[in-house]
């Protein structure tokens, strides 16, 4: 319930007579933004399907999800950071470094496993540095993660000076394979969604929401804000490491600048998905809709034979529009809820 608008604006106690009114009030109180995001994603999906010759198969949806999987993983972590009213620019650097390491150090099954763990550990470690500086020293998230983004980018360029290298075929094939007739990419997304649904009920998640909606209040209520922020950025770093693995699978090679272009989409997916930039409201389910919207947008632009550069421009516009639309929707809703309550 914490991730709903209604926590602060109550429609007032209702008697049985006012049941309908209460129901209406509850609908108005629950955050409409994730639902709006799913409507948008569905509209994009139908447009895309209409542009495609023939019918849609599970396999095609699998390809779509595989295309967006690295972004979804990145956005899962970014979304949790944004719940605390922060931002994590360093996910771009961690992803770049991860793909650079994968392309240079994965030689067989053994080394791929070992280095996958190393990449995830680097993500968690990088997140810990961010988390300590932001949580304990109270520094601004954007400047701290800008600095660590620069550091990880630099290391990635030292590891792999230009895009290239290869990852073993067996590793990269996993993402396009099927398990029980369903593409692995879809399984991965379902597992992430399930993990999120479990996570959002845990005490850690409650503290993250609390810190995001009112830091001082959370502190007064006994929440260790420094430790909560540390956990948040470590989760984000871990997600960035995992996203690097998915990215390496998809491209079957490495790119020391891959992450730079994914920072904006990771934030955009979260914002389109209805998570508030001011913290405390939203979640991964809406973010998935944001990821699908952005991924399908790229495919629609491709299907329309437009230059792929349009995606860069459109992503930027969508981010700003989503912030504005989300803010406007939220204001309208609050106003309606207030009117309903009085």
């Amino acid at each position: 319930m914490i991730d709903q608008v209604g926590s602060s604006v109550n429609a007032g106690p209702g008697s049985p007579r006012r049941g309908t009114r209460r129901l209406l009030g509850r609908a108005l109180n629950s955050d409409l933004r994730p639902a709006a995001a799913w409507v948008l994603a569905l509209a994009f999906f139908l447009t895309y399907a209409a542009l495609q010759p023939g019918t849609f198969s599970v396999g095609q949806v699998g390809t779509l999800v595989a295309d967006g999987l690295a972004l979804a993983t990145l956005a899962l972590g970014q979304g949790i950071v944004i719940l605390t009213a922060g931002i994590d620019l360093s996910v771009g650097g961690i992803l770049s470094l991860g793909t650079a390491l994968a392309a240079t150090h994965f030689t067989g099954t053994g080394s791929a496993l070992t280095w996958s763990v190393v990449i995830l550990a680097i993500g968690v470690g990088g997140g810990a540095v961010n988390g300590i500086l932001i949580g304990r020293l109270g520094l601004q998230p954007f400047i701290v993660t800008l600095a660590t983004w620069s550091i990880f980018d630099g290391i990635a360029l030292v590891v792999l000076p230009t895009a290239g290298g290869t990852v073993p075929g067996g590793f990269s094939a996993w993402i396009s394979d099927n398990t029980a007739g369903v593409p692995n990419a879809i399984w991965a997304l379902v597992v992430m969604a399930a993990l999120w649904l479990w996570f959002r009920r845990t005490p850690v998640a409650r503290r993250i929401y609390a810190v995001g909606s009112d830091r001082e209040g959370a502190r007064m209520a006994g929440v260790n804000t420094a430790r909560t922020l540390l956990t948040t950025y470590m989760i984000s770093g871990f997600c960035a490491g995992a996203a690097a693995l998915f990215y390496a699978m998809m491209t079957a090679s490495g790119d020391p600048t891959a992450g730079d272009g994914l920072i904006l989409p990771s934030v955009a997916a979260v914002v389109i998905g209805g998570t508030s930039l001011f913290g405390g409201q939203g979640g991964f389910i809406g973010t998935i809709a944001g990821v699908l919207t952005l991924t399908i947008l790229g495919d629609v632009i491709f299907a329309l034979n437009l230059p792929s550069y349009w995606t860069v421009l459109a992503d930027g516009l969508l981010l700003i529009l989503a912030v504005l639309a989300g803010g406007a929707l939220h204001t309208l809703q609050l106003r309606a809820a207030r009117r309903n309550a009085s």
Binding site: L133, L137, S150, G154, L264, G316
Partner: protein
């Protein structure tokens, strides 16, 4: 005099760092401080100094401008494409490009103030929009060669003095005057220290905020024009290093990243420090990419130190 030094301790420290690095360079590689190489260093520091001028003003108000690299890149590409090697065309192209930078800054500023989009999101989105527009315009290819007047501006020397160094000095004087001796400067610092209190004092903090983003757009366009002359041409991605370096130069210069304190005299030292590091790293056998690691570390150290200072100042109140 003593209190002036004490008040500007971070700036003094930044200049001390310039000296230390310069001497270290001379020790590692004799001839490092010969006039021609110093000129070279100054020229290379200029680009960072220009972008850091805008970034510094934005940071003074507590914001950040992530759109600098692509505004710079856009100015460079459009200059080389439209001039087509003709120096005469620069007479109208340069003012037009600076105005274009101002326009992008204006949109950023209005988005931040009127529409209340957080600065990082507004400028991140704007960066992507400008990048996309530029990619579409050039179709992913590179721009043409820089006109000779631009090359002259960026590389020529009058005696021992690089031409562009003189432009830098003019910018330094103008920025310092604007910050320390005009109502705009006072409003800028006040906005950075406390937006609310400044509003209560009857100052339109919105106008101040829009102004700093406009300055940042113009400064980035100027950097792009000069950089195209230095490189001799334009290419996509040429602005990429200047996001990190602009923030790093401001941070080394002793500005508080939370806004409200700092000046361009410090940022000037910051740009020189970065140019010296960029020259020293290859001598030590480190790749250019190590510079990005240095930028990041420098920013982290600078903000940790300044936050410690802020903490002490709060305690002493």
């Amino acid at each position: 005099m003593k209190s002036l030094l004490a008040r500007n301790r971070p700036v003094v420290a930044a200049y001390a760092l310039v000296l230390v690095l310069a001497v270290a360079g001379e020790i590692i590689a004799p001839g490092f401080l010969r006039i021609s190489h110093v000129d070279q260093l100054v020229i290379e520091a200029t680009f960072t100094a220009f972008v850091a001028l805008g970034q510094g003003f934005v940071i003074l108000t507590g914001g950040i401008d992530l759109s600098i690299p692509w505004v710079l890149n856009g100015a460079a590409v459009l200059l080389t494409t439209f001039a087509g090697g003709s120096s005469a065309k620069m007479a109208w192209l340069v003012p037009l490009l600076l105005a274009g930078g101002a326009l992008i800054g204006l949109v950023n500023g209005l988005g931040v103030t009127l529409l209340r989009v957080p600065p990082i999101i507004m400028t991140l989105g704007m960066s992507s929009v400008v990048e996309g527009a530029l990619l579409l315009y050039t179709n992913g290819g590179s721009g043409g060669n820089a006109p000779s007047a631009d090359v002259y501006l960026a590389t020529h020397r009058w005696g021992p003095l690089p031409v562009v160094g003189l432009v830098w000095i003019a910018v330094l004087v103008a920025a310092t005057f604007a910050l320390s001796a005009t109502p705009f400067g006072r409003r800028l610092y006040a906005t950075g220290l406390s937006r609310r209190v400044t509003e209560f004092a009857g100052v339109s903090t919105g106008a101040v905020t829009v102004a700093v983003y406009v300055i940042s757009g113009v400064a980035a366009a100027l950097a792009g024009i000069v950089l195209a002359g230095y490189v001799g041409q334009s290419y996509l991605g040429m602005g990429d290093p200047y996001l990190f370096s602009s923030v790093a130069a401001v941070a080394i210069g002793g500005a508080s990243i939370l806004g409200g304190s700092g000046n361009y005299v410090g940022t000037t030292a910051g740009a020189l420090v970065l140019a010296l590091l960029a020259a020293i790293l290859p001598i030590l056998g480190l790749p250019q990419s190590a510079l990005e690691i240095v930028y990041g570390c420098v920013i982290l150290v600078a903000i940790s130190v300044s936050s410690g200072r802020l903490g002490r100042r709060r305690e002493s109140l």
